[in-house]
Symmetry: C2
Subunit: 105 residues, 2 copies
Amino acid sequence: MPEIAQTPKPPYYAVIFSSIRTDGDHGYAAMAERMLASAAEQPGFLGIESAREGLGITVSYWESLEAIQHWKNDTEHKEAQRLGRGQWYSGFRVRIARVEREYGM
Amino acid sequence: MPEIAQTPKPPYYAVIFSSIRTDGDHGYAAMAERMLASAAEQPGFLGIESAREGLGITVSYWESLEAIQHWKNDTEHKEAQRLGRGQWYSGFRVRIARVEREYGM
């Protein structure tokens, strides 16, 4: 069941990760699952949303820039980043943004 | 062919629209296509990325908060927003964020 992240009142931060996969799995699915679980355990983690339909978009939400930097430097996450650049993605873009307003239904 | 938006050097703004659809089309697909085309013609539009896999995530990029507000008030877009609340989405969240850093491959 897909879920919209339940984030607190802004301000907080979003990491928008947009990617295009190469063909084949090459260990991607298992690592992606581990990274989702591991991100959720990091200090300052607020939530995550993900969808892939040709283009993949994963948005993770964080309390602070420090929390984002801490997760970026996680040992297994760094290994995932290395494999992402080398094998899994033909292209990607990471955008770090400060959420200033939020509304919905 | 999915594409990652070619955005300029930050700062700029992102609208992260996360949604869960109701069952059935009810005119959604045609309107979604029109809205994509119309957004791209708005002043201050920088790019858009979209994927749906259960959860739908559309991120549009804009030069300024004024450009976002202008698009929000577009007549046909307002009608799409009304239909979205009434028919197409069982839930959605809009987050407006200032992109501060960007990198990729």
